[in-house]
Each structure stands twice: as C-alpha cells, then as structure tokens.
C-alpha cells in the first residue's frame, strides 16, 4: 500500500470494495490478458465509463496490485497499468481491531455516576439497566441518543455507584454485579461511551 497511514483493515476494506464491483471479474481478467492497459482502452473494452475504469485502476494501483507508467500519445501524456501481483489476498485481522493491552488498565479505573448527568436509564428485567438515553446539544438542536445494553453492561450499570456514593474500581463493580472477566471488554466499551457523554466520572 502506498499510503503508509492506512491500517491493514482499511486496505482490506478498499480491496474488498473494488472486488465487489459488477465488472471486477472481467476487469481483472483483462489485466491478466493484457501486458498493460490504459483506462480508456479498458473502458471501451468493458463498455463502462472511463472515470469508472480510471478509479478501479487507481484503486488497485494504490493497493499495490498494479504498477503504472507514463506514456505519451501525441501531446497528451497518460498512464498505462500492468499487473504486479498474480493473486489478491484479502485478510481481516479481527483480533487486531481490539487493543486488549490498551484496555487492560481499565479494570482498575475508579468510577461513579456524575452528578446531574441528565441521562435517562431504562430498567430491564432482573437487576439490570436495559438502555441509556443521552442528550446532546440544547434547545431545538437537542438530540437524543439511545444505547441498548448487553446483559453484562446492563448489570454493570445497575451496580455503578450513585453520584453521592464513593467511587469504586471497575473490577469491584463487576464483582458486585456477579460478572466474569469475559464481560470486561464490553463493560469498558460502555464506560468509554459514558465517559465521552460525561455520564460517569473517573478518579485518578
């Protein structure tokens, strides 16, 4: 990939997007058949718009599948594209999407509900909260956002210390709610959301 800032997930996503085009199979076959090809040649061959062909070729070139070189026809320079790779592998590393290490310290966070957080909690069956409604903005531009909670998150929130109570570590709240460690990532995700909406406060 040329763009060094792009993540492996983003790279795979772009390749998958290109491969999902209706004309992708014919276009790739064309690239295998031809030593090199220009956007206008490919467009005329596949009966698609030249801009569409151009974007497809640029996308593959960006992903490192194609190489391109400048050619001159008359006065106007243009690019010709040729295959660099004989196969394309699209891999999504799902485990890599969640940084367990970065979240590991979250278990020790000391938290409680913030005073006058202004959110609405909807109670679910059993000792759990089923959803949280937060409000963003004010007046006519005030918008409501509702988060539906998982069983783990709902039980965790049920036992979160009240604004007037002393704060507790996340792990202690989880123990109180009888949640096992498997729940920690989703609990911390909820904590992140609530922190971003100023619903809870973190000590230290």
């Amino acid at each position: 990939m040329k763009n060094k800032d792009i993540t492996p997930f983003e790279q795979s996503r772009q390749l998958a997007a290109l491969a999902s085009k209706d004309y992708a199979k014919d276009f790739l076959a064309l690239l295998v058949m031809y030593r090199d090809i220009s956007a206008s040649e490919a467009a005329s061959r596949l009966n698609i718009h030249i801009k569409t062909a151009q974007d497809f070729l640029e996308g593959l070139e960006e992903a490192g599948i194609l190489g391109k070189h400048k050619a001159a026809k008359g006065k106007r320079p243009y690019f010709r594209y040729s295959l660099k790779e004989k196969s394309i592998h699209i891999t999504f590393d799902l485990e890599g999407l969640y940084d367990r290490q970065a979240h590991a310290s979250g278990a020790a966070w000391i938290i409680k509900e913030r005073k006058n957080s202004g959110v609405l909690f909807k109670e679910g069956l059993g000792e759990r909260i089923s959803s949280v409604q937060v409000f963003e903005g004010s007046g006519r531009s005030r918008e409501e956002r509702r988060y539906s909670l998982t069983e783990c998150q709902g039980r965790f929130l049920f036992y979160l210390p009240f604004p007037t109570e002393p704060p507790s570590p996340v792990m202690d709240i989880m123990n109180k709610a009888a949640l096992d460690k498997e729940c920690l990532p989703e609990v911390l995700d909820l904590v992140d959301i609530l922190l971003s909406h100023d619903v809870i406060e973190k000590k230290g």
Partner: protein, 264 residues
C-alpha cells in the same frame, strides 16, 4: 425547637379534583337553580361511589363498602328523578347511617393514602443535602424473605392503599404513587415512571425514586441515603409482615402522619 416538614405541599391534584366537583355544583346552582344543584351533586356522588366501589373490588378491603354505600345512597337521596320514590325516606335514613360510619372511618384514618408519610419516613434519617439524583434504581442490599412473604406484604399494602403491587416472574414491585387512584382505576398500568421498592426472588431489595417524587422534598437530600432509607423502611415492613404483626406498618405510617401534623 420548631421543626418543619421536609416535604413541599403535595397531592395538590386532589384539591383540584374536589374544587372541580364543588365548582360544578355551584355552576349548576347558579345557572340551573336548585334542580341544577341536585343533578350535579348527585352525579358527583355516584361518580365517587363508583370510584370507591372499584377500590373496594381491587383492594378487597371491606371498609370501602362504607364510602361506596354512602355516596350511592346520597345519590339515591338527592337525585331529582328519585325525589318522589316510595323508598326515599329509607334512602335518606341509610345515607345518614352511612355518613356516621364514614365520619368514624375518617377518624380512624384508614382511608388515607400513605404517599406523604412514606416520603416523610424515608427522609427522616437523611441528614445530607448533596443532591445526586439519578433515574437509576438503587440496590439497597439483601433481606430475609421468600416470594410468598413478598406477596403477603404486597397484599397488606394494597389492602391498606399504602402501595400498589406488580407481581412479576422474578420479583414483587411495590409502587408508591402520589395518587393511588391512577392505579386503582386503571389509568396507569405500568410503574415505568413511578417510585417503587422491589423485592426480588434472589433476596435483593431495589429502590427507585423518580425525579418528580424527589422534587417533593424541600431540600436536595443526599440521594443514595434517601434510597437506602426507603429500602430500610420497606425491609422493616417486610419483617413485621413476616412476624405476623403487619398492623405495626399501619401504626408506623399513622404516627408519621401525626408527626407531620404536629410539626406544622
């Protein structure tokens, strides 16, 4: 030292309801003469009779037979088309007897809703005023009871219009409404926006106080202490109910009401 109630004036809705009924009678008298008054008077009384009869059916508390009967016989006595009824004298005598019984009932204070007293008792041990309101329910810890105990308590509290119960698969929820009629007369069928104490089958006791009810207090009482105190109050009710001394619940609430009167 002069004490003041921790509560603002509450149950204003009942004053409005009574004023509307009185207003209708006055309106009837002014615009339609004595007949207009008797029509509105008797209509108001049959309405009250029906309300109390519904409460009687829902609570299975036979004392509601007294207001139901009284309002019904007042209707029969004062309804203009029945003025010449052969049994009119009988209706009048029975009305008077019911009235005497009703006065006795008022003195016993058995008909009163206990919303105010419950809020007052819950606030009594709370000394902090650091607010901290949240719409989340508060887990007040566990208590010794079975599901049958919780249902037994619920029945007693319903019978004495202290709390309205919702019997769920895993818990018994006791709602403390400001206006018990909204539940008794089927205007409300859920406790989503109500203050309640819930007894879970797991032995946990959970309390939720709504913003509306919290704002009934003059001060912003420390919220977790208030929830805890309300939970403790109902745990005490549970204990008395299990011991077979449920009458202590009524006595406790009655004494709280008396304290308020004294404080004023």
């Amino acid at each position: 030292m002069e004490q003041t109630s921790k509560l603002k004036p509450i149950q204003v809705g009942m004053t409005i309801f009574t004023s509307i009924l009185l207003g209708a009678m006055i309106f009837g008298r002014i615009f339609f003469g004595p007949d207009g008054f008797y029509w509105t008077f008797s209509t108001a009384h049959i309405l009250l009779g029906l309300i109390h009869f519904t409460v009687l059916m829902r609570t299975r508390n036979w004392i509601y037979l007294i207001p139901s009967g009284m309002y019904t016989f007042w209707f029969l006595t004062f309804f203009p088309p029945l003025a010449a009824h052969p049994q009119h004298l009988f209706f009048s005598i029975v009305s008077a007897l019911f009235l005497l019984a009703f006065i006795g009932l008022l003195f016993s204070r058995r008909l009163e809703w206990r919303y105010k007293e419950i809020l007052q008792l819950a606030a009594k041990p709370v000394t902090g005023t650091t607010d901290g309101f949240t719409s989340r329910p508060f887990p007040t810890g566990s208590a010794e009871f079975t599901r049958e105990d919780a249902i037994k308590l619920a029945r007693y509290l319903t019978k004495n219009v202290i709390a309205f119960p919702f019997i769920e698969s895993d818990r018994v929820v006791l709602v403390i409404p400001e206006y018990m009629w909204v539940y008794m007369l089927f205007f409300k069928r859920s406790y989503e926006k109500g203050t309640y104490v819930a007894f879970s089958d797991s032995g946990q006791v959970t309390v939720r106080i709504t913003k509306n009810d919290y704002q009934k207090y003059r001060e912003e009482l420390t919220f977790d202490q208030l929830c805890l105190s309300l939970g403790d109050l109902f745990k005490q009710f549970m204990l008395w109910s299990r011991e077979g001394t449920s009458e202590k619940i009524f006595a406790k609430l009655k004494s709280a009401g008396k304290d308020q009167t004294d404080e004023k």
